[in-house]
């Protein structure tokens, strides 16, 4: 086995937060020092210094050619890890060994200058990312073709549309040829077609050119399709380092809020026991475990509204409100029920669920918004090449399209 491309051992990063004041100005510092001295003399203590460990004792190693996803909630330490790997900031303790040229893409278009033309920015940005002039010149045409900005090469980029800007920026970065590529959430930009192209490019870099890629994203579907392995960071520590499916499962399970065990409503109250995406059954589904508490008997209708992460309702399902015969017949007391919402036409991405409960034909009872996002990450079914991604912004559901023969 070759030597690992990235070896991280016992990595920690500490930030010190000093209470009482942030001294960004000299006056603050002088003032602060004087008070600190006074407190020392008087009480023998200075101000409180709170230590914040952005990363704590993280160790892993990555073999050359591996594509590894890094997942975790905001503040889990992903960005800090990337910053240390990119040498922007130093670790507090621990050690990293990198074997090969590293290029990191923490954002697209780092160092783009709005007043410079597209052509000039390609050179500038290339140099900032660590390319040599000759290398940029050699790939110049390729970059321009990839970005699709031929006509505007000599226009200052401040006059570019945001899409063109991002395309150009990504194109430069995509033509870096490092042995180790570190990518942070750069796919969240651009239109659907271009996002596909970016993903494809990263895939190409990873699969066909045998480079090591570290990919950070909140887009679970992208992580799933690109990476074989994922590292799940949680509160600055390494929580799970496993094949992508396992790590994603750990992440999704962790994403469920622990306590949503409250009933909402009065005469008829609803409690969400669990809502989550599952592929365990015959079809990919969003499973809903609900408990209904009724004080009176009645006929109720349940509605499920699926909203995109932007809050747009994209799907509707019901039991009893469009089809009366499917209404739930309720007896007083608690009734537990499990529902499966077929997600096989739903694009991969995150969704929010709203539940509505009606007494059939009578009164509007209850609206319940489930606070946690549901991540739909369905695998590619047989006979299909890819799965629609919600963040392509082309829609959330796949509709069947039939050719009509004359």
């Amino acid at each position: 086995m070759p030597l690992p491309a990235i070896e991280v051992s016992g990595l920690s990063k500490r930030y010190v937060i000093e209470h009482e004041s942030r001294h960004d100005s000299l006056r603050d510092t002088l003032h602060h020092s004087a008070r600190k001295l006074w407190r020392r003399l008087r009480w023998g203590t200075g101000f409180e210094r709170e230590e914040f460990w952005a990363l704590r004792d993280v160790s892993f190693s990555i073999q050359p050619g591996e594509v590894v996803g890094i997942i975790g909630r905001n503040g889990a330490g992903k960005s800090t890890l990337l910053k240390i790997l990119s040498r922007i900031t130093e670790p507090t303790s621990g050690q990293i060994t990198l074997r090969g040229r590293v290029a990191s893409l923490l954002e697209v278009g780092t160092g783009f200058h709005p007043d410079l033309s597209g052509r000039e920015n390609i050179y500038l940005n290339g140099a900032i990312l660590g390319m040599q002039r000759a290398e940029i010149s050699r790939k110049f045409d390729e970059i321009v073709a990839f970005a699709e900005v031929e006509r505007f090469l000599d226009t200052p980029v401040k006059r570019y549309s945001s899409g063109m800007y991002v395309r150009l920026a990504f194109a430069v970065a995509a033509h870096l040829e490092p042995e180790i590529l570190i990518v942070d959430e750069v796919l969240a930009v651009g239109d659907a077609q271009f996002q596909k192209k970016c993903l494809g490019k990263i895939e190409d870099v990873a699969r066909n050119q045998g480079r090591t890629v570290l990919f950070v994203s909140h887009n679970m579907a992208a992580v799933q399709s690109l990476c074989q392995r994922a590292i799940f960071l949680r509160g600055g520590t390494l929580f799970c380092d496993a094949p992508v499916a396992v790590a994603l499962q750990a992440y999704l399970a962790d994403a469920q809020p622990d306590a949503n065990d409250q009933f909402h409503g009065e005469t008829y109250a609803l409690r969400v026991d669990h809502i989550g995406f599952t592929q365990a059954g015959a079809f990919p589904a969003i499973a809903l475990d609900l408990t209904l508490r009724a004080k009176l008997p009645g006929r109720l209708a349940l509605e499920v509204i699926v909203k995109s992460s932007m809050g747009t309702p994209v799907a509707f399902a019901d039991a009893g409100s469009l089809r009366f015969d499917q209404a739930l017949v309720i007896t007083p007391g608690d009734t537990r029920s499990r529902w499966l919402l077929d997600a096989s036409q739903l694009a991969n991405g995150s969704y929010f669920i709203r539940l509505q409960l009606f007494e059939v034909g009578v009164e509007h009872h209850l609206i319940l918004d489930h606070p946690a996002a549901i991540e739909v990450t369905r695998a590619t079914p047989d006979g299909v090449d890819r799965v629609l991604q919600a963040d392509w912004n082309v829609g959330a559901v796949t509709l069947p399209l039939y050719p009509v023969k004359n």
């Binding site: 070759p2 030597l3 491309a5 930030y15 960004d24 100005s25 000299l26 006056r27 510092t29 050359p64 050619g65 910053k83 240390i84 790997l85 990119s86 040498r87 922007i88 900031t89 130093e90 670790p91 507090t92 303790s93 621990g94 050690q95 990293i96 060994t97 990198l98 074997r99 090969g100 040229r101 590293v102 990191s104 923490l106 954002e107 780092t110 160092g111 200058h113 007043d115 410079l116 000039e120 050179y123 500038l124 140099a127 900032i128 990312l129 660590g130 040599q132 002039r133 290398e135 050699r138 200052p156 040829e177 042995e179 050119q209 045998g210 480079r211």
Partner: protein
């Protein structure tokens, strides 16, 4: 960078290993600085390109400002204060004093504001940070070159041909840049943490304009000479005037020696402080 040609698929059999650990950033610093020299060039080129974009007069601004200043200072020092000119046309004395002063101002301002001005790069990409203030000197040099090219015919117009002394001009340009960079490194590193230094810079320059013999010549002020020599820029201004006016003014050698020593001390201490604080730039900028 000295990596294998990227056109070939990378061979990972025995790639150079880079070790990152606390306090290790300095291990390859100077080698990295050399490797990233092209980036320094690109940053300088960017600053120059952007400098006069969307300005109708463009690079003419590099001339307008000193021209107006020459007229004003000639009026104030030559006509109102009636400072001695020693037979040299007063506008020329002022013009030749302004040239190094403008170079210093530009270089010092550029280097001093460079880190905060490039904070978006510093928090997103690695490179030896020393590149930033160094490349900020380029704009000042360009402005100086334009002014110099235009100043030489003016000097000739007054009938004062520069002599062999002109050959020493690069040495004085270098001295100016060393002083500006040394001071600029201090200011720019301090500004990362304390934004106060942004307000201190214009103040230093305002005072400096008068304690530096820009508008007057020192060889007729023997009482003040030693005091003025405490300012390392005095010797630079005297020296450049001497170069440009063909030796018609004098250089105060003890002052020049002091200036060179101060310049070296400033640069060495500036680099030391910059390097010492550099590793935390990304965290606090």
């Amino acid at each position: 960078m000295d990596f294998p040609a990227p056109a070939n698929p990378p061979t990972l059999a025995d790639p150079p290993a880079l070790v990152l650990a606390a306090g290790r950033a300095s291990a390859h610093y100077w080698r990295d600085l050399w490797r990233y020299r092209e980036l320094a060039g690109f940053l300088a080129w960017r600053d120059i390109k952007v400098r006069y974009k969307q300005a109708v007069l463009g690079i003419a601004w590099a001339v307008v400002q000193p021209a107006v200043q020459t007229i004003l200072l000639t009026f104030v020092f030559g006509k109102l204060a009636k400072m001695p000119d020693g037979g040299v046309p007063y506008p020329l004395l002022v013009l030749c004093g302004l040239l190094p002063w403008q170079l210093f101002t530009g270089a010092f301002n550029g280097a001093g504001g460079s880190l905060v001005g490039n904070s978006h790069l510093i928090s997103k990409v690695y490179f030896p940070r020393l590149i930033v203030p160094v490349s900020a000197l380029a704009v000042a040099l360009l402005d100086f070159a334009v002014m110099l090219v235009l100043a030489l015919p003016v000097i000739a117009f007054f009938g004062l041909w520069p002599g062999w002394q002109l050959l020493l001009l690069p040495a004085f340009i270098l001295l100016t840049l060393v002083i500006a960079l040394g001071a600029g490194l201090w200011i720019t590193a301090l500004t990362v943490k304390f934004r106060d230094f942004r307000f201190i810079t214009p103040f230093i320059l305002q005072v400096g304009m008068f304690v530096t013999p820009v508008g007057y010549r020192t060889d007729f002020l023997p009482n003040w000479r030693d005091l003025l020599a405490l300012n390392p820029l005095s010797a630079v201004v005297d020296g450049m005037r001497w170069c440009l006016l063909g030796g018609r003014t004098e250089i105060y050698l003890p002052g020049l020696a002091a200036s060179i020593i101060t310049a070296v001390l400033l640069l060495v201490s500036g680099v030391w402080y910059f390097r010492r604080t550099e590793r935390s730039f990304a965290d606090i900028i």
